[in-house]
């Protein structure tokens, strides 16, 4: 056996393997480096000014409104202040009409949109979204003692809703494919839920905020109500939006939002603005 030759082969193989491993290491480093957020003008600005600016359409209670002195108040405002606290900065709000919200991110005017805002997938090229913090879609309200009123079992049931509302349209749509499902249109969502309370209707389809607020006030009623289900085809999950050029801000807001959800702060805010039923 030619040991000298064998040794040389091993040396070659070792050298090749080392070279391969080094290359792999460098490529991995490059991939990790390229995935890391490198620049975030909004985050830099927030760090510099110690202020985060939210664009908000303040015409949408109880999420955001302006009082007589021009001060912002509402669920989104409290949430914004809480998020800012967790980021170690101060929150400021700018009143912007709904159509102009996302544009303020593109032109670097505001840092984030916090305004009862639902994902617009077609804008994903320009903005990124946090996970949802509230679902404002349509829910089914029934009496507490009622069982078996399920969204997949509406045969021969009567559902009430505000005349002309999204809930009303859903009942009419379902009525075309559900035997005996009757619509009971009412003047507004309160009357629709009153119809459930009085037994005229088996359930009411109303928006989540109206339902939370009304159901929360009903503990003293003879026939209290409950929110039995949300309607998946009419969900409206609210999110925050930031520029796609703000990956660090997105990460930090998401982290802070998770903390707020996990430590019970979100529950407190929900109870404050929508009532006990929203806990």
């Amino acid at each position: 056996m030619n040991y000298k030759n064998l040794n040389s082969k091993f040396q070659n193989l070792f050298a090749k393997r080392t070279l391969l491993l080094c290359s792999l290491f460098i490529v991995s480093l490059f991939i990790i480096w390229s995935l890391l957020p490198t620049e975030d003008p909004a985050w830099s600005r927030i760090q510099q000014t110690k202020t985060i600016t939210f664009a908000t359409d303040a015409t949408f209670p109880p999420f955001a409104s302006l009082d007589e002195k021009g001060n912002f108040f509402g669920f989104d405002i409290d949430l914004g202040n809480e998020l800012a606290k967790r980021l170690g900065v101060k929150a400021e709000f700018e009143a912007v009409s709904y159509d102009g919200l996302l544009g303020t991110l593109i032109v670097n005017r505001d840092d984030a949109v916090l305004s009862a805002f639902v994902i617009q997938p077609e804008r994903s090229k320009d903005v990124s979204y946090t996970p949802s913090y509230f679902n404002a879609g349509i829910v089914l309200v029934t009496r507490v003692e009622q069982d078996g009123i399920l969204l997949n079992n509406l045969t021969n049931k009567t559902l009430s809703a505000e005349y002309g509302s999204e809930g009303d349209a859903l009942i009419r749509k379902w009525g075309r494919v559900t035997v005996g499902l009757k619509a009971l249109p009412m003047k507004d969502s309160i009357e629709a839920m009153l119809a459930v309370e009085s037994g005229k209707a088996d359930g009411a389809l109303v928006d989540a905020v109206s339902a939370y607020q009304y159901v929360s006030r009903g503990e003293s009623r003879a026939r209290p109500l409950k929110i039995s289900a949300s309607v998946p085809e009419a969900d409206a999950p609210y999110v925050m939006a930031v520029s796609v050029k703000s990956p660090i801000l997105l990460r930090e807001l998401t982290k802070a939002l998770d903390e707020i959800k996990n430590d019970g702060t979100m529950s407190q805010l929900r109870v404050k603005w929508f009532g006990e039923a929203a806990r």
């Binding site: 949408f60 912007v96 593109i106 032109v107 639902v118 617009q120 002309g164 009303d168 003047k187 905020v209």
Partner: protein, 366 residues
């Protein structure tokens, strides 16, 4: 060598059959046909609605939208035609989508008032929104206007240049600039008239707002309009386009300089007259009410239906200078998931909302 005719014929036949089979799937077959030409039946010929089909990708939905508009008794629509969609690269035009919209509208007997705007990426600075049009690119926009008018000569009679220029967001978040708007309008107007002298150019389309002078978000529409006239606006439009939302007030709520309501049109008219423009007509190209359960400026769905019909009626009876009243908005291709959805006459899946049924009945179509 003996020629095997039988074999040649056999193989030739095979090749022809295979070729024919391969051809079959590529024979273009129209999926949607225009169908029989229709006319709008209506008791009120100034009835109009603002459609939003620019993002509607399915042709059958364009057809269905316009069929429902016709059945509602509206002989006019305002539709948005974004420049950025049709000239994505400079000089490279694709009018397939607007062709569909205009052909189907004509087939349903509905006249189109075409609103033009939205700046393509190549015609604006980086990190700007699609409403950012600077002086360097006025000529590019005007060129597009000319192309559009030329293409639809004989098919489109009315054109709106830009939208709500008194809002900062409609000017790429810059400070609003009435003189700049007139300069842009001048070039576009000339290009439109050069392409078709018969075209009627609508301008203005201001957002009703009481924004204070100190605001950098918007300028009061009445102040902005006067500034337009001061900058020579009168020479570059044929019909004044007006927006007049009712918000939470009924349509007969009296006009006042500090009131935003449907009859703000009358305040706008006063400014026209003051500037010697009484002979020119107006079109209300956006108006209406919203029935969101949460928005502070909304009304109940039943009130919305009632106010909308009353508004059409009020305009027909009282404003002979108004050629059409176009209510915002017929249908959105997908939900917006905000109060904007509650302006719609029909849902994205074409379910009529109560306002649709009310207008349909009022125009004598039920």
């Amino acid at each position: 060598m003996q020629i095997r005719w039988k074999q040649i014929l056999f193989w030739t036949a095979r090749v022809i059959i295979v070729w024919a089979l391969l051809r079959l799937p590529v024979v273009p077959r129209p999926l949607i046909v225009l169908g029989e030409s229709q006319t709008v039946k209506t008791l009120y010929p100034k009835t109009c609605v603002h459609t939003r089909m620019e993002n509607e990708v399915e042709e059958w939905k364009i057809q269905r939208t316009l069929l429902m508009v016709r059945e509602m008794g509206a002989p006019f629509i305002v539709e948005y035609f974004p420049w950025a969609y049709y000239e994505g690269a400079e000089g490279n035009y694709d009018f397939t989508h607007p062709d569909h919209v205009i052909d189907h509208a004509r087939n349903q007997g509905v006249a189109v008032i075409a609103r033009l705007g939205m700046v393509p990426q190549w015609a604006r600075e980086k990190n700007t929104t699609d409403t950012y049009l600077d002086e360097k690119h006025y000529a590019d926009f005007a060129k597009f206007v000319g192309k559009f008018v030329e293409r639809y000569r004989g098919k489109i009679k009315y054109l709106i240049i830009w939208n709500e220029p008194n809002l900062s967001l409609e000017c790429g978040y810059r400070k609003v600039d009435p003189q700049g708007y007139v300069a842009m309008l001048k070039e576009s107007y000339r290009a439109a008239k050069a392409a078709n002298p018969e075209i009627q150019v609508l301008a203005g389309a201001l957002a009703p707002t009481l924004e204070p002078d100190s605001s950098d978000l918007a300028m009061n529409d009445l102040i902005y309009l006067q500034k337009l006239y001061d900058a020579g606006f009168a020479n570059y439009y044929d019909i004044l386009s007006v927006h007049s939302y009712g918000l939470s007030f009924p349509p007969d709520d009296p006009p006042a300089p500090d009131a935003l309501n449907f009859r703000r049109v009358e305040r706008v008219r006063e400014i026209m007259i003051k500037n010697g423009e009484a002979k020119k007509k107006m079109m209300i190209t956006e108006a209406g009410w919203n029935d969101s359960p949460r928005w502070t400026r909304a009304v109940k769905p039943a009130a919305r239906a009632e106010y909308t019909v009353q508004a059409y009626e009020f305009a027909e009876k009282n404003w002979d200078y108004v050629m059409a009243t176009c209510i915002w908005a017929f249908r959105f291709p997908a939900p917006l998931y905000t109060y904007g959805d509650y302006y719609a006459f029909v849902t994205p899946d074409f379910t009529p909302r109560v306002v649709y049924e009310a207008v349909k009945k009022w125009t004598g179509n039920q």
